[in-house]
């Protein structure tokens, strides 16, 4: 693989997204959402204080609202990542742009890896900026700062990169619409499997646990989502919940006392490599 060519494709990808004003629209929407979040949490805190709610309760309430906001943001982020990445190669092939590029001494693997790097930079940058901005605005309006904001944002970006990787890899073989739609469905299924797996675990339904666990390994976004929650969950909530609900808390997708195990993180990194590899393999066999 020639680094110069990978970098050329990476820069082309970033320039494409910037020129097509996708970034501008995304940041515009994010800024609007963050302002809305700021206004909403400010109102929540003001009304609660007027009603005489205790400061501790308010802080716990805000922390849970922040987790819910992060959850919605993770969905939007995943959808954005899927619909940015699905056409990255698929539309090059559909439009014919790929013909002129691949007639040059550019390997198909270099095109895929260059595209992935460019998209990863955009997705991580977007998730990082928007996530930290939202946390910062909530901290400014309510005084609540989650225990590990960088961990939360890091896992949020990681989750989005996983979604982006799947959409890009599927797009090497499938039309962009199909690749995007399949990715979103798989992402939603993985999240659902996470909740269902928690319920199964709470009720010791081993067969169901096995099935949902398999899906969570095949698409590790849910495990990474637990990392986001872990970064946002105040220790006080852990103290309140601990010991009161037993295994049942596992079924709650908005509660996590521990970060995802190291094996899960390592598997997620390996998963990205495997899926990119599969995408390259599929693309190399595709007739242009």
């Amino acid at each position: 693989m020639t680094p110069r060519l990978v970098v050329a494709v990476t820069l082309l990808t970033i320039r494409e997204i910037a020129r097509r004003r996708v970034l501008l629209v995304l940041f515009g929407l994010s800024l609007f959402s963050v302002l809305l979040v700021g206004w909403g949490t400010d109102r929540l805190v003001s009304i609660s204080r007027e009603d005489g709610v205790g400061e501790l309760q308010i802080q716990i309430g805000v922390s849970q609202v922040l987790i819910l906001i992060a959850f919605m943001f993770s969905f939007i982020l995943a959808m954005s990542a899927a619909f940015l990445a699905a056409p990255a190669i698929a539309s090059d092939v559909e439009s014919g742009t790929a013909l002129a590029m691949l007639a040059r001494p550019l390997r198909r693997s270099e095109l895929v890896v260059g595209r992935w790097l460019g998209l990863a930079i955009i997705v991580i940058g977007y998730a990082g900026l928007s996530g930290l901005l939202a946390i910062g605005v909530v901290a400014f309006t309510t005084g609540h700062m989650p225990p590990q904001p960088l961990v939360a944002v890091g896992f949020l970006a990681f989750e989005a990169v996983i979604v982006m990787t799947l959409a890009l890899a599927l797009g090497t073989r499938l039309p962009s619409m199909a690749a995007g739609a399949i990715t979103v469905v798989v992402f939603a299924l993985a999240w659902f499997a996470g909740v269902l797996g928690g319920v199964a675990s709470a009720f010791n339904a081993t067969a169901l646990t096995g099935a949902t666990e398999a899906l969570r390994i095949l698409m590790p976004t849910d495990a990474l989502w637990r990392g986001v929650v872990y970064g946002l969950e105040p220790p006080l909530v852990d103290l309140i919940v601990a010991g009161r609900f037993g295994n049942a808390v596992d079924a709650n997708p908005f509660y996590a006392t521990t970060p995802p195990p190291l094996q899960v993180v390592l598997w997620s990194v390996a998963w990205i490599g495997i899926v990119i590899g599969a995408g390259i393999w599929l693309f190399q066999r595709r007739e242009l």
């Binding site: 020129r19 014919g96 013909l99 002129a100 590029m101 007639a103 040059r104 007739e287």
Partner: protein, 305 residues
Amino acid sequence: MSPPSIETRGLRKTYGRTVALDGLDLHVGEAEVFGLLGPNGAGKTTAVKLLLGLARATSGTGTVLGRPLGDREARRRIGYLPELFRYQPWLTAREVLALHCDLAGLPRDRWPAEIDRALSTVGLSARGTDRVTGFSKGMQQRLGLGVALLGDPALVVLDEPTSALDPVGREDVRSIVREAKARGTSVVLNSHLLGEVERLCDRVAIVHRGRLIASGGLSDLLGEPALRLRVTGIDGLADRILGAFGPVSADGEWLVIRPLPPERVPDVVAAVVAAGGRVHAVDPGRRSLEEAFLDLVRPTADGAA
């Protein structure tokens, strides 16, 4: 001795049960302008894609610029204008050319001169900083030609290079091809426009239903030169007078002498006039490439894709 620009043996490509190309043998020499002809669906574009490594041959072998098909080193020295020419619409023409300079591995200090030269050659100097999205199809095809000519390639493959161009653009393409040949570049011209091919190509290959049905120099394909005459006043003597120059046949009001070297045309006219005949029209020439092409393709054209 330099290797041939293109050499293929038994190149075959199938898509499922469809045979797109069936045993193609090609030889394109150095600095040769080679025409690849054929009706729609004949397999011309498939052949080009196999040569460039954009598709893989089911069987058969070949070399391009002395390297195996699809070889990266060879692709460094090939310029290609696809039939489906599309370039990043969000880039300017200069940026598209810079991208291809980068992909082709040209030293960065050569880029500005190469880009200026390419834009000037294809008549887009004034539009270099405009985005491709505002370009007409003809301008995009011109840009594609510029992309193909970057870095002075040893081989240029042009797939239907004039499909979106007006007559002025077509003449420009002819000049570009002639200049490329003069610089020692081999050109493969894949075209439906037989007039273009006839004017430009040293040799042609005709592909039909995936098979090579004829190839060679234009003189081989077009047959011997002939003379068509419309004369009066030599009734009954035509065979004797004209027969002295070569075999004579009738074609409606016309008499045809084939073969007849072009330099003998004045002698034929003089002989008719000397015998008291009147010459109304003289048409020296031979079969056009179009006639030769139709003769080759028509017998089997039924059901062609």
